[in-house]
Amino acid sequence: MNRTAAEAPTRYVEHVMGMPISLALRGRHTTDRAARDAWAEVMTELRDVDRVFSTYRADSVISRLGRGEVTVEDCVPEVAEVLALAAAAEHDSGGAFSAWLPGPDGVRWLDPSGVVKGWATERAAAWLAQLPDTDFCLSAGGDLTCRTLDPDGPPWRIGIEHPTDPGRVLAVLPVATGAVATSGTAHRGAHLVDARTGLAPTGVAQVTVWGDSLTAADIDATAAFALGSGAAVWLATRPGRSSFVVWADGSTTTVDGSATI
């Protein structure tokens, strides 16, 4: 199963939005000008997204929108697109997911981060998809999208990290072409909340969702985590994705959404 050095992918890493962006390339364009240009475009696009959507920047469009200084109509069209995705997720999750999170004082503040990361990464990956005869796997802080052109080629092997022992993987997911997103509190503490209560969800340690779209997988992983002990039952209603839930007690549930009609 081990591959030779010649088959090992070429890797790139840079940081944006306070998280590492990791790229693995294999095929015709991995180290040449076309590959480096595509990688540069990916990072430029993610930095642009960060300038618009960062809640850590007081001067970002989203911060100004949250303070009511501008309206959605004043913003670049991507803002309306992201807010529409967030609204759909809020509806689908019964309010557990929301771009408007309750603060300690009960006042809600605008933070669409749960939508932005997967959406932005999927968009940025379009630059890589233009590389002919080249496979890619692009990860933004543990949420990733990948492509394999050869139907008989080896899939990308994605390790699902152990939520309490980050040096180990709990499972391996072979993905030829598709997306994987994981939500949990392993690396950032209890920053994810149930938007209905403002409290950290209970019962669940980590949710991984995979399917065609990273935008959808990331939103569903975040929303399912916010639902706490209701994660698996909710995920079972989501068409076209599968998921893997690690509960707080260490037990796991696999939700298989791959059945065809």
Partner: protein, 170 residues
């Protein structure tokens, strides 16, 4: 509101299935062990989008005999039982769920029927999704290309598994 009630009913179907499974096991010890693992699912009722859910949860727990009408074990080995629920209308459309219970723990939830009313869903469903290989491994022996985990920050990245992978390839 009616849709929410329907959604709760579908959740209840899952619950009822679980309690139906209890009635098929004669061992009191097994039933006790299972009831502890069922708790997360029962808890999900409170987490589903309705206040009425918590009110109906205790009701579902009592009439376990009635559950056999909707659920029957399809296949039983010494440790694993698979049960299929009847199709339930949810806010997303009809959903039919199959549960695998192994050693008193729900190990798999399969959706055997789900909403497919729009073309996008059908297009998505046309291709089989990857199947997870569940096995706890040291990263070194797992031979993985990329790691999916709770969001890494740049600060935490240096200690991360993904960092090790990236360095190995640089």
């Amino acid at each position: 509101m009616k849709k929410i009630v329907l959604w709760c009913m579908s959740t209840l179907t899952v619950l009822v299935l679980l309690f139906g499974y209890h009635t098929s096991t004669s061992s009191q010890a097994a039933a006790t062990a299972e009831s502890s693992t069922v708790t997360p699912v029962a808890g999900s009722l409170a987490a589903t989008p309705s206040t009425s859910a918590s009110a109906t949860a205790p009701a579902a727990a009592t009439p376990s005999a009635a559950a056999s009408a909707t659920a029957a074990p399809e296949s039983t080995t010494a440790t694993t039982t698979t049960v299929t629920g009847s199709a339930a209308d949810t806010r997303y459309g009809p959903v039919q769920v199959q549960l695998t219970v192994s050693g008193g723990t729900i190990t798999d939830v399969s959706v055997i029927d789900y909403p497919s009313s729009n073309g996008k869903d059908q297009q998505i469903n046309g291709r089989a999704l990857p199947v997870l290989v569940q096995e706890t491994l040291d990263a070194q022996s797992a031979d993985i290309d990329m790691v999916s985990g709770a969001t890494y920050t740049s600060d935490g990245y240096l200690q991360s598994l993904q960092s090790a992978l990236d360095q190995a390839g640089l």
